[in-house]
């Protein structure tokens, strides 16, 4: 049996699945309880698990992540919501300097089984301060695992994996995907972190995408098919751990790589994929290593502009054609 549910509802379902299973999972964030979250992605949790385990907080992002970290050190498995990933900047010290380094600095005395969930990315005309795709910020920090699902099934499976993982996991929900639907099997869903998924086999080029860029990459692959280019599409799913094997093996077969990311141009995760391939498969390459990204500008709010700058199906098609020439 399977059900068609939204990416948004998958978040609540994944959380509920784990909270039922493990009483040490606690959930906290701004307006997450009775209100069900700014994006209504956690509706029903407060009703089911009550105010002890589903906690509203003040607008205090450092206090939220501090609470999560201290609780994780001492026996709980907290899931903290940072409403928009842009707001990670207001608690970046916790994200980048405390949480990921403490296990190492204490030589393993402290373990931090916590998850930070956040709504990431653009496409909703929210302007430059509410639209950033910042999964590359997290990837740059040693000690963080980084997950970004592209569909409702993966939201559940990867969220479960993240919660069960004994290390800190940054869980990026792409906000433009919340209303999208996908099939979800009945029963418990638990994935493994660090396993990419090849969504489409192809011979001419490997397209590596993440989150909201996955459906666009798939659409581009269809169009490319029509003009005789056979694209393999890989949904990375996690940036850390990174399934380099799947990417490298694919590129060795196709000889060409295109990455598609929402990050602005400079030092996005695409650069890391390109660099790994450029070091490890250089003799297999038969075309330029190509990145499709958002240009290196803050995201404008007007719909006419925003649509132009997030990587579109057209831009992916065009870039891939060039890479294959």
């Amino acid at each position: 049996m399977a059900e068609l549910i939204t990416y948004r509802d998958a978040v609540a379902r994944g959380l509920a699945q784990e909270m039922r299973r493990d009483p040490s999972v606690y959930f906290l964030g701004e307006d997450v309880a009775a209100a069900g979250g700014g994006f209504k992605a956690t509706k029903g949790l407060f009703e089911e698990f009550g105010p002890e385990r589903v906690r509203d907080t003040p607008i205090s992002e450092e206090a939220i992540l501090g609470a999560a970290m201290g609780a994780a050190m001492t026996g709980l498995k907290p899931v903290a919501e940072i409403m928009f990933s842009d707001f990670l900047a207001t608690c970046w010290d916790l994200v980048a300097v405390e949480i990921p380094k403490t296990r190492y600095m204490t030589d393993g005395q402290v373990t931090l089984p916590l998850v930070i969930r956040t709504a990431n990315g653009g496409g909703l005309r929210f302007g430059a301060q509410h639209s950033q795709a910042v999964e590359n910020w997290a990837m740059a920090i040693p000690g963080l695992k980084v997950v970004a699902p592209s569909n409702p099934r993966d939201v559940i499976g990867l969220l479960a994996a993240a919660i069960r993982d004994p290390d800190p996991v940054m869980f990026f929900e792409q906000k433009s995907l919340y209303p999208t639907k996908g099939e979800v099997p009945d029963g418990e869903i638990v994935d493994e972190l660090g396993v990419a998924r090849t969504l489409r086999a192809g011979q001419d080029v490997t397209i590596v995408a993440l989150a909201s860029m996955v459906p666009r990459a798939m659409a581009a692959a269809e169009e490319l098919d029509e003009i005789g280019i056979s694209a393999e599409v890989i949904d990375l799913r996690c940036l850390v751990p990174l399934d380099t094997r799947t990417v490298v093996e694919s590129v060795k077969r196709t000889s060409r790589l295109v990455t598609v990311e929402e990050n602005p141009r400079l030092v996005g995760w695409g650069a890391e994929i390109v660099s790994i391939v450029g070091e490890e498969c250089i003799w297999h390459l038969d075309g330029p290593l190509t990145r499709v990204t958002t240009p290196h500008i803050p995201l404008p709010s007007a719909d006419a502009l925003e649509d132009e700058f997030l990587p579109s199906v057209d831009r992916i098609v065009e870039a891939t054609q060039k890479a294959v020439q």
């Binding site: 207001t90 909703l124 502009l305 132009e308």
Partner: protein, 344 residues
Amino acid sequence: MSATETVEPTEDSSPEHTSPEEQVWLGLYRQLFRIRSFEERAYRLFMEGLVKGTSHLSLGQEAIAAGFGEAMRADDYTFATYRGHAHTLARGTPMTGVMGELLGRANGVCGGKGGSMHLTSVEHGAMGSYAIIGAHLPIANGAAWSAQVRGTGQVTVCFFGDGTTNIGAFHEALNLAKVWNLPVVFVCENNLYMEYTPIGDVTAVEHPAADRASAYGLESIIVDGNDPDVVFEVASTAIGRARDGGGPSLIEAKTYRHGGHSRADPGTYRPDEEVAEWRARDPVPTYRQRLRDRGVAEGALAAIETEAAADVDAATEAAKAAPPPAVEAAYTNVWADGGAAWRN
């Protein structure tokens, strides 16, 4: 009353015949009514799908922006939040550019790059609307510091909500403002809720700003934020003190938003009686009645209303008629040279 109601032509409402006091009242009413009219229209346009993204209205809270707007000098600075239509208009920013920005058009004050949450009109002292809670408080300090060392006598007014008092930037900004004796007025619009959560549920004190004033060596000030006269007075005092080198103030103005937090929110988490109680204290009709009771001519008020309505109509038409920003515009104004190049 509706803005198109007939004006009694017999009463004399020309400015020459009004007392200085009455001119302040009319100024306040003009602010109130213009902001209200603009935002009611904006709401309609959201509902029609003409405004994309999100938006946060000040419906019900207008008296604060109005009172400060009237108390400020033309070269003073305002720092506002994502809920900043009112504060931007209150500085005299023409409606057209604001409406254009909401609709994402090329004629917007920010050329369509900012949107509802980032209205800015430097020309009018509206130094920006900031969408990250608390971020603009330290920035407001910077403008005040600059005015202080440049010796211009400019005062900075910084608006924010009750929920904002719990973020770290609030604390850092208030402390520095006092230590440097900056000419800045911090105005907490306490509308009793952060987004959907009552402020009391997440705050250690009853009055989120006023009960913290002493932590920064400041006086505790609470005012009725729905009373334009009261706001105007406290604003004038605080701004005057700042201008005279007396340093910062922190003012907590109690108010209420009529609608939800943002476009998507029906605001149903609030008790009906609470909403009703505050709606009865709606600053726009209440102040209109007060002015009538004080003997202000109906015509004077009606003239303001007619003008506001016409301005809203004109702004709406202009915005609708304006083209979307050209795609190339997205590559402008990252840098001071006008461009966006990061490489040679």
